[in-house]
């Protein structure tokens, strides 16, 4: 069943066509990767889906409803959570608070409850804190619950961002280069984490440069170049697609493989 449908998405910055007539579909509980050389428009496509950029034209459907033009927080509340390529945590909040911000929108305490610290607010706070601690624990961040986000090591910051996204009760998780800057061990853990999230019912849509990661975990791959979708298919198909090799792998495949 199609969960996200992108229909001829176009995003233009002045004269630059960052995303040019791209369409694809993501099914429920699928892991789809988007790859492409630097500046291909991948992050831009993410931003259009999550409402950070208004699209020039085209439409995005989520669960059958058009979400184009909705503000970002509404889209998140509908069930699309994301992480950022350049980590965007709340640097001077503790890791725990970062995760609890993720739960903000579905907490039940009204403003008035918060003002007078009513029993409802207390219970709510307690419940959400327990959930946040639970998430931190499962992601191996318990030790850092009280630390400022920016004090965490880089790899753990990426994980904390995932925890924050998970706290929003998503149906789809959009990950922008989650493996960037991780060491091989951490990459392995990341892949395990992604598979587990899928097993628990989540749909995953990720941007990634690391071919080993992409080829291993993806069900399908969408390839972008200069804002245009070149091809789409199973890892094996994409790998052998001459167009992809020319546009992308040809440019620096060797280094990337060494990287991985």
């Amino acid at each position: 069943m199609a969960l996200i449908e992108v229909e001829s998405m176009v995003k233009r910055f002045g004269g630059l066509m960052a995303v040019n007539d791209v369409s694809f579909v993501i099914d429920t509980r699928e892991i789809v990767s988007m790859i492409g050389p630097n500046g291909a428009g991948k992050t831009t496509a993410f931003n259009c889906v999550t409402g950070l950029y208004p699209m020039t034209s085209g439409a995005v459907r989520f669960d059958g409803h058009i979400i184009t033009g909705q503000p970002p927080h509404r889209i998140t509340r509908l069930g699309i959570a994301r992480t950022f390529q350049n980590i965007r945590l709340f640097s001077f909040m503790t890791a725990l608070d970062n995760v609890m911000v993720g739960a903000h929108w579905w907490m039940s305490a009204r403003v008035w409850d918060s003002v007078v610290k009513s029993p409802r607010a207390r219970a709510d706070e307690k419940r959400v804190e327990a959930r946040a601690r639970d998430l931190l624990e499962q992601l191996g961040l318990t030790r850092y619950a009280g630390s400022y986000a920016r004090e965490l090591p880089y790899g753990l910051q990426r994980r904390l961002e995932i925890a924050r996204a998970l706290a929003t009760q998503p149906r789809v998780l959009l990950l922008d280069e989650p493996a960037a800057g991780l060491n091989p061990q951490e990459k392995k853990e990341l892949m395990a984490l992604i598979s587990r999230l899928r097993d628990e019912g989540l749909t995953i849509f990720l941007i990634e440069h690391d071919m080993r990661v992409v080829m291993e975990i993806s069900d399908r791959i969408v390839v972008l170049d200069h804002g245009v979708k070149i091809t789409e298919g199973k890892p094996a198909e994409v790998r052998s697609n001459p167009q992809v090799i020319e546009a992308y792998l040809g440019q620096g495949a060797a280094e990337r493989m060494v990287d991985a």
């Binding site: 999550t50 950070l52 950029y53 208004p54 503000p71 970002p72 927080h73 998140t76 509340r77 959570a81 994301r82 950022f84 965007r88 945590l89 709340f90 640097s91 001077f92 909040m93 503790t94 608070d97 609890m100 911000v101 993720g102 903000h104 929108w105 579905w106 907490m107 305490a109 403003v111 409850d113 918060s114 003002v115 007078v116 610290k117 607010a121 709510d124 706070e125 959400v128 009280g146 630390s147 400022y148 920016r150 004090e151 924050r164 996204a165 929003t168």
Partner: protein
Amino acid sequence: MPSLGLGRLLTRERVDPTARRPRGAGTSTFWIFSIGSATLLFMGWLLPWFVRPTSSGIGYSPMDVVSSAPTGIGTFLVYLLGIGMLVMVLSPFAELFYRARKRAVPERLDQVRVLIAVFGLVSTVVVFLLTRVIQEEQLFGPIDAFTITDSAVWLTMVGYILAATAYGLRGWVIRRPTTAFAALALPVGILLPLMFHQAPVFILWAAGSLGIYTLLALGLNVVVGFAGLLDLGYAAFFAIGAYTCGSLASPKHSIHLPLWVLIFLGAAVASMFGAVLGAPTLRLRGDYLAIVTLGFGEIIPDLATNNIGKLTGGPDGISSIDQPIVHLPFATINFGINKEWYYWSVLLVVIVVIVLLRNLEHSRVGRAWVALREDEVAAAATGINTTSTKLLAFAIGASVSGLAGAFYGSIVTIVSPDDFSFSVSVSILSIIVLGGIGNITGVIVGSFVLTFVIFWMLQYLNEWSATLGQTINVPSLGNIDYSQYTYMIYGVALILMMLLRPGGLIPSRARQIELTSGGEEESLAAVQGIA
């Protein structure tokens, strides 16, 4: 970077803080120590001179003690208390100094601290016994109901007990700095009118300036400190509250609502205005929003000056605003005569507001505000409705201001457009910048310091310097109009604080680092390309 010792100390504090844990021992504790005990020392020893500079002062000033020395144990002990208190004030600085040099704080300091505390308690008890029970020493004149609160010496001792207790219980203070601060400030706050019952002007200052400005600063702190939105027209909401009070409790429109209704009405009307102004403008970038609020802050007093709809009384404003008279079974309290009741009501409101705002700060709303000011884009992508969250901060800030306005109108009985000029907005901003942006404790300290300097000291400095001029034969000292320096004081406070200590005297740690090293934040609207 000037290499003054103090400057280096402050910088070190500023660069380092992420290295430590966010909770637990923070530098703010030291500031609470120093400022808390300094305040008490000040109240006890110096304030009587400020309140009434002649020797007839409030009861017995330290000067009287000096002139009668050394007549007995009591005087001697009072001296020791004074010295002990000085040590208490200075020692946190010494400790800070050690920390800054990354040296371990010597164990001995702890012992000294406990010794001082014990000594203080013991000698206070001894002085008390000598004078009150045995009536041995004729140190404080005849003892009647008010002697204790009248006497500067007694004030010193009360202050000393509080400070020494806090000091001896340093571990507890560090763990619960806010509670400690409240325990220190509350008794002083509540007893203030008793201490200064012979100086009603001072009580009026405490209610009308200190109390009102504390409220205003608390409200602005929600907007600037919590949500990170710079509001330069905050006085407009103050004006709205005050004019609401003036219109509905004066002969002007022959409506006479009680103050207790008006403070809520003022708050409601002001927050409505806040929401109306905020709704279309809050997506603007920080500096643009600041200017929009500035424009609004100029328009509102202009409307009042131009007597819009014949409602506001033009440049003269509205006068003869009602002052409540409360009939109790056993007494009748006339607020106009017994100003201390204003003081107590404002104090009560301040305390309630503090408690509620603290609740809010530590709730989901407070978290959303922090998230918003740190990274608006990430906050939106995390499901926070940026507009409504900002609007909430704006409306709450405005409502506190409206409430303060209603009180203000009733206290001074006349409101006119001049009371709400830009300089009022800037003075409130100065208070929170001075005290510590985003930190309620800091805001209270800031409003104490600034309102004392601006609305008390500068008003009476003329008199004092005239007296001084007469004694030392420089009569020109009496011709200086010190209140002219108000603007320069605000200016210097803002510049120095932002340059040297952007977090304020008592910084909220996160806010301080944000203000120094936080990179450029981009607004959601800018990312979306719509502003």
